[in-house]
C-alpha cells in the first residue's frame, strides 16, 4: 500500500514537473505568468476610445449637448435642403416684418423681407465654421507653444511666457475693433485675428500641465532609451495633454462663436450680406420693439450652441481623464 501511494505521489510529482516544464517552454524562461491581474483586466479588452465612450455616455447633459450640436450641424450645413432653395440674401420689400409662422416664411421675415429661417441656417454655417476654424488652430498652436515652453524651461520658457503675458495684457475687444476696421471685416480676417488673440490662454495652461508631466518617470525612461526631444514632446508629452486640450478647444468653440457675434454685433465682424448669428442680432436691434422675434431667434441659437459646447466639454473632460473630475 505504502509503496503504491509513494508511486502515485511520484507520478503526480512527475506530471506536475512536466506541466511546469511545458509552461516554462511556452512562457520563455520567466517561469509562469502572474495571474493576479486577470481579475483586474476582466475578459474584455477595451481600447482607450471604447473606455472613453463608456464613460461619456453616462454623462446625460453631455449627450444632450452633443445631440443638439449634431442637429445644428446638420441643419446648418444642409441649409439649402431645409429652406427649400431660398436665397438668404433675397430681399422682398413687400413682405417686411412678417411674424413667425407666416405662409412661406416659417420664422417670419426681417426688415428688408429676407426669410429669417433661411438666414438662420446659413448664419449657423458661418458661425459654426468660424467657431471650429478659430478654436482648433488656436488650441493646437497654444498647446504646442505650451509644450515647448514647459519642456525646455529656462530662457525659452521665459521668452514664450512673457509673450503670452503681452497677449494677455492687450485689451482684446478694442484691438479687435481697431484691427478689423483697418484690415477690413471679412471672414478670413476675423478668423485670423481671433486665432492670434486666442492661443495664449491655452499655452499658459498646457505649459503648467507639461511642467507636471515632464517630471514623471516615463519621460526619464524615454530619455534613457535615447528618444530625441522632438519625439519626447510629440509622442510622450503631447498625448498626455490631449484630454485637457480637447476640452479646452470644445469650450473655445463656444467662446469663438461668441467673440464673432460680439464683433458682428458692433458692425465690425463679417460683412452684413453674409448672414451670421452675430450680424443678424446686430441688424435686429433697431427693430427690437416692433419685431422682437428677429432678436429672439439668433440669440437663442447662440445660447443653445454655447451651452451645448460647454456641456460637451464637461462630458469630454470626465470621459477622457476621470482623474480631472473634482
Amino acid at each position: 500500500m505504502k509503496t503504491k501511494k509513494n508511486m502515485n505521489q511520484d507520478l503526480n510529482q512527475k506530471e506536475e514537473e512536466s506541466i511546469v516544464e511545458e509552461r516554462d517552454s511556452i512562457n520563455g524562461i520567466a517561469g509562469g505568468i502572474e495571474n493576479e491581474a486577470g481579475e483586474v483586466m476582466g475578459n474584455v479588452d477595451y481600447t482607450y476610445a471604447q473606455m472613453v465612450w463608456i464613460r461619456f455616455r453616462k454623462h446625460k447633459m453631455a449627450l444632450t449637448g452633443s445631440a443638439i450640436i449634431l442637429i445644428l450641424l446638420i441643419l446648418a450645413f444642409g441649409a439649402s435642403t431645409w429652406c427649400g432653395g431660398q436665397n438668404p440674401s433675397f430681399t422682398d420689400i413687400t413682405h417686411r416684418f412678417l411674424p413667425p409662422f407666416s405662409p412661406g416664411h416659417f420664422l417670419g421675415t426681417d426688415d428688408v423681407g429676407r426669410d429669417v429661417w433661411t438666414r438662420l441656417l446659413y448664419g449657423g454655417q458661418t458661425s459654426l465654421e468660424i467657431g471650429f476654424f478659430i478654436a482648433i488652430p488656436a488650441g493646437l498652436f497654444g498647446g504646442l507653444v505650451g509644450s515647448i515652453s514647459g519642456y525646455f524651461g529656462g530662457w525659452v520658457d521665459s521668452v514664450l511666457m512673457r509673450l503670452v503675458e503681452i497677449f494677455f495684457s492687450i485689451p482684446t475687444l478694442p484691438i479687435l475693433v481697431t484691427l478689423s476696421s483697418y484690415f477690413g471685416a471679412n471672414k478670413a480676417n476675423i478668423i485670423l485675428l481671433l486665432i492670434i488673440f486666442g492661443w495664449a490662454g491655452t499655452a499658459r495652461m498646457i505649459r503648467g500641465l507639461v511642467l507636471q508631466i515632464k517630471n514623471y518617470e516615463f519621460i526619464e525612461a524615454a530619455k534613457a532609451i535615447g528618444c530625441t526631444n522632438t519625439r519626447i514632446i510629440l509622442r510622450h508629452i503631447f498625448p498626455n495633454t490631449l484630454a485637457i486640450l480637447i476640452v479646452q478647444m470644445t469650450l473655445a468653440i463656444g467662446g469663438a462663436i461668441l467673440a464673432e457675434s460680439s464683433l458682428s454685433f458692433l458692425g465690425l465682424g463679417v460683412n452684413p450680406s453674409t448672414p451670421t448669428w452675430g450680424n443678424m442680432l446686430s441688424s435686429a436691434q433697431n427693430f427690437m420693439w416692433n419685431a422682437p422675434h428677429l432678436v429672439v431667434w439668433p440669440g437663442l441659437m447662440i445660447f443653445l450652441t454655447i451651452l451645448s459646447f460647454n456641456f460637451l466639454g464637461d462630458g469630454l473632460r470626465d470621459a477622457l481623464d476621470p482623474k480631472l473630475k473634482q
Partner: protein
C-alpha cells in the same frame, strides 16, 4: 519650504575644488564600466535674481568599477545618493565632475563617455539601460505596452515593422508576459507585470549594462522574489551586467557580486559580497547590517542602532561625514576626511579607525 527654491541641472566645469585628481585610472580587461571621482551637484537657486546660493552635493566623489557579467550593488539609506550616482553613471544626469568609462559594444574599446553627446550619446543609450523603481510611473499611461516595448527599436532605427513586432512578442515571452496583452495599457496590469514590461523595454536592444534602480522596492515580497529570479535568469542568459540599487540588504546579499556602501554622497566601504557581510569594516556598514531584522525572538535586542537622520547634503559635516552619528567618533574625525584604504584585497573602506 518657505524659500523659493528651484533645483535644476546645469553644466558646471570649474567650481569644484576636489575633482582634479588627474591620474588616469587603470582598469583591468574584464571591467565593463567604471567611474572615477564622480560628482553630481544640484545647484539651489534663490534670492531675488535666482542666483546660485548653494549646492546639493548628491554625489560627492565616488569611484568604482563593475566587471562584465557581475552585479554591483549600491546600498545606503534614503538620501545617500545611490540613485543619483546611477543616473549620472548612465548619463541621464550630466556629471558635475569626474569621469565615466565604458567598454563600448561597437569598438570593444574602453572609452571616456563623460562628455559625449548627440549621436554618440544616443548609441550609448543602446548599451546602457535602466529599470525604474516605480513600475507604473515609468510607463506612459497613454501608450499600449506593445508600443512601449517597441519604442527603443524605433528610436534606434530598426526599420522593418515585422522584425520589431516579432521582437516585441519574443521579449514579452522572455519576461513572462502573454503576447496577447500587447494592446493593453499599463493600468490594466499588476505591479509585478508592469515591472516585467519595464524589464522588457530595457532589454529589447540587448544592452550590456542594466541599472536596476530599486527595481523591486515597490513590489510586495512574493512578487519581489519573482522579479529577482527573472533578473538573475536574464543575467545568465544574456550575460548582463547589473548595477543594482537597493536598501533591502537581504535582496542585495542574494543578488550581488560586489557591494558599495554609500553615505551622504560618498562611498564609505566597498567589498565583495561575502566579505562585506561577514567582515564589515566601517562603523556605518556595521550599523546597517545590525539594523536588519532577524526573525528570531530569542535574539537579544541590545544592538547598537544609529540614531537620528542623515545630515543635509547641502552642508555636510566637516571631516568624516558619518561623524555626527558614529558610535566610535574620535577627535580626528571632525578635522580630517578619511581616505579610502585597502584593508584586504578588493576590500576598501574609509575610516580613521582602520
Amino acid at each position: 519650504m518657505s524659500k523659493k527654491e528651484k533645483m535644476t541641472e546645469i553644466e558646471t566645469k570649474d567650481y569644484l575644488d576636489v575633482r582634479h585628481e588627474d591620474i588616469e585610472p587603470t582598469f583591468s580587461d574584464d571591467v565593463l564600466v567604471g567611474c572615477h571621482n564622480l560628482h553630481k551637484y544640484f545647484p539651489i537657486h534663490g534670492g531675488l535674481f535666482g542666483a546660485k546660493i548653494a549646492d546639493v552635493r548628491a554625489v560627492d566623489g565616488i569611484s568604482f568599477e563593475i566587471k562584465k557579467g557581475e552585479t554591483h550593488s549600491l546600498v545606503g539609506e534614503s538620501g545617500a545618493g545611490k540613485t543619483t550616482a546611477a543616473k549620472t553613471l548612465i548619463r541621464l544626469y550630466d556629471s558635475t565632475g569626474g569621469n565615466i568609462y565604458f567598454r563600448r559594444q561597437k569598438t570593444g574599446l574602453f572609452e571616456d563617455v563623460t562628455k559625449i553627446k548627440g549621436e554618440d550619446l544616443r548609441s550609448l543609450r543602446k548599451e546602457v539601460q535602466i529599470v525604474f523603481q516605480d513600475p507604473s510611473g515609468s510607463l506612459n499611461p497613454r501608450i499600449p505596452v506593445g508600443d512601449i516595448i517597441e519604442e527603443p527599436m524605433i528610436v534606434h532605427g530598426i526599420k522593418s515593422k515585422n522584425e520589431r513586432k516579432d521582437r516585441v512578442v519574443e521579449m514579452m515571452k522572455i519576461v513572462g508576459l502573454r503576447p496577447e496583452y500587447l494592446k493593453r495599457y499599463q493600468h490594466e496590469f499588476s505591479g509585478g507585470q508592469r515591472q516585467r514590461i519595464g524589464i522588457a523595454r530595457a532589454l529589447v536592444l540587448n544592452p550590456e549594462l542594466v541599472v536596476c534602480d530599486e527595481a523591486v522596492s515597490a513590489l510586495d515580497v512574493s512578487i519581489q522574489s519573482q522579479i529577482i529570479n527573472l533578473l538573475q535568469r536574464l543575467q545568465e542568459k544574456f550575460s548582463l551586467t547589473y548595477l543594482f540599487i537597493a536598501h533591502d540588504l537581504a535582496v542585495v546579499r542574494h543578488m550581488s557580486d560586489t557591494i558599495g556602501v554609500m553615505y551622504l554622497g560618498k562611498l564609505v566601504e566597498s567589498a565583495p559580497n561575502a566579505v562585506l557581510f561577514n567582515n564589515p569594516a566601517h562603523p556605518y556598514t556595521q550599523a546597517l547590517l545590525n539594523a536588519v531584522p532577524v526573525p528570531d525572538p530569542e535574539i537579544e535586542h541590545n544592538k547598537k542602532i544609529i540614531m537620528g537622520d542623515i545630515p543635509s547634503p547641502i552642508n555636510p559635516p566637516s571631516g568624516c561625514r558619518f561623524r555626527t552619528r558614529c558610535p566610535k567618533v574620535m577627535d580626528i574625525c571632525k578635522v580630517e576626511e578619511p581616505k579610502m584604504k585597502e584593508i584586504e584585497p578588493r576590500h576598501m573602506a574609509a575610516c580613521h579607525l582602520l
